[in-house]
Point group: C3
Chain length 223, copies 3
């Protein structure tokens, strides 16, 4: 009987009809049959689970690699956005008028025009006390200046970058007491700290009243 039972353990369980098989096994190990079925199912389930686990681990490893890659790219994108926003936020713009009440000059030496009435000064790069603009960041800047002057004296205005003449405007003495208007404009590539200002030539003059003689500039692009 024991041998029979062991044979049952040994042989495959497919050849014997279910009813007969059950009665026979139950006569010695009534539950061994179920146990073996259970064990077989468990073994099969473990095989399946191992495959699923292996598959899950592979997918997880792949997901981790992709995630790490995404995190690196995301960090890079965040840095680039920060840089774009930082450049966008670097607004440098100024406009100032000479102000005063009447002629500025003539002086017997070249003199920086101090545009005293600030209209706009975003970034605070222009000084209304010295008349000088100092580039807060390296970049391309635009400058333009306009003047009005009576005709009794010459006019000579030169935009200076550090000590270099960039663009100029001037006018001769006009007979019959007419008036002169003029101006100029330029785009300049500046290094941080470069100074730009308008110089009134010796023995020339401009008119300071009514926001008519002006100096303006702005940062076009950081480079």
């Amino acid at each position: 009987m024991l041998l029979y039972c062991s044979l049952v353990l040994a042989q495959d369980d497919v050849d014997v009809p279910e009813t007969e098989r059950t009665s026979k096994t139950q006569s010695c190990f009534p539950d061994m049959w179920d146990f073996l079925k259970e064990f077989g199912a468990m073994t099969e389930k473990q095989r399946v689970m191992e495959t699923r686990l292996k598959d899950g681990e592979t997918r997880l490893k792949d997901a981790e690699t992709r995630l790490k890659d995404s995190e690196t790219r995301l960090k890079d994108s965040e840095n680039q956005i920060l840089e774009l926003k930082s450049k966008e936020k670097t607004v440098v713009v100024f406009s100032a008028a000479a102000g005063g009440s009447g002629h500025i000059g003539p002086f017997n030496t070249d003199t920086t025009v101090v545009y005293k009435v600030v209209k706009t000064n975003i970034g605070n790069a222009y000084s209304q006390f010295t008349g000088t603009f100092a580039a807060p960041v390296p970049g391309i800047y635009y400058f333009t200046f306009f003047y009005h002057a009576g005709g009794s004296q010459r006019v000579s205005l030169t935009l200076i970058k550090n000590n270099e003449s960039v663009v100029t405007t001037y006018d001769h003495t006009t007979s019959h007491d007419g008036a002169d208007n003029g101006g100029n404009a330029v785009f300049l590539q500046l290094q941080q700290g470069d100074q730009v200002y308008v110089r009134l030539g010796a023995n020339t003059h401009v008119w300071g009243d009514n926001f008519i003689t002006t100096f303006s500039g702005f940062l076009v692009s950081q480079v």
Copy 2:
């Protein structure tokens, strides 16, 4: 024999040589030995799988946390990009010329110059019917205007922001029927809806022909 078998179950399977062991067990439970080996292997496999599963769960939890963090950062980056693109897309630029055929003015009161010939009007912020520019978004704007005029009358042009004079250009009557040219420029910080226009002073004139008397502006930066 059963006891012997049970002993086989009980004792560790390392002491008996493989050949002898197999013959002995097969005499009672021919497959029990294999079964026990299988069960032992299954137990060990389960232990290993559990460790792998636990490890996988830990890694998955970590990946989920990182993924959630990445998603939050990505959303934030997307919003910042949208903001940058929105600002980039807000292009406000106009240029218009006075047009007409001859003198504009003199009028006996201050009069807004209506620059009728639009050269550019991206953003449609300038009205060729009223001569007024209305800021569509808050920001820093640049304005510049130029004029030509015969010398028989004075010229007075003032850039007005709402009701405030910002910059001006003017010229006296010139004897001998000469001609006058002039202009000015300014950067202005505007609120949405602020109105900017050029006012021709009472009893002064400009020349409207040939795109010579112009008014231009653009949005430098949203703030």
Copy 3:
């Protein structure tokens, strides 16, 4: 005895006190009891692990979906950043002065002014040899030009886009040998390759010395 053992297999192991149960089972299968406990624990563990595995697989699938979505969004963000940076990097700016030493003109036909002294030429879109600016990218551009001229001749400068007059500045002959200043500015929407230059009218002149007669432009916005 075998039947007894099989009964042990069959019956639930909860009703018999631990000590008695152990002694009884050990009398036939000394380790079967432990084995069965182990098997039961293993079955239960497998059930739990299967639940955890299923749960892990669900979470992994979800994470993979979210990761794929994040990767798509990240790629999209990266492309948008590239576009923003590309536009930011497209800096087109030039300023040039007529140069020379004295009058340019009068000529008996309309002549392009060749501003020979380059002050700035980022993007190399302006040619100091032809005086022509060619738009390297489609966009909104700003141009401004200023001149100085003696009064002995008329002045007529017109900014030309391809063959179309855009804005102009001119001045009459001035008696008493005075001097003339003037300029203009305009924003223009250009297609790639559009050419912009300043034309000196036939029988008119400007002064080329001292960086006083200038031509400048820049790309405001790509569109």
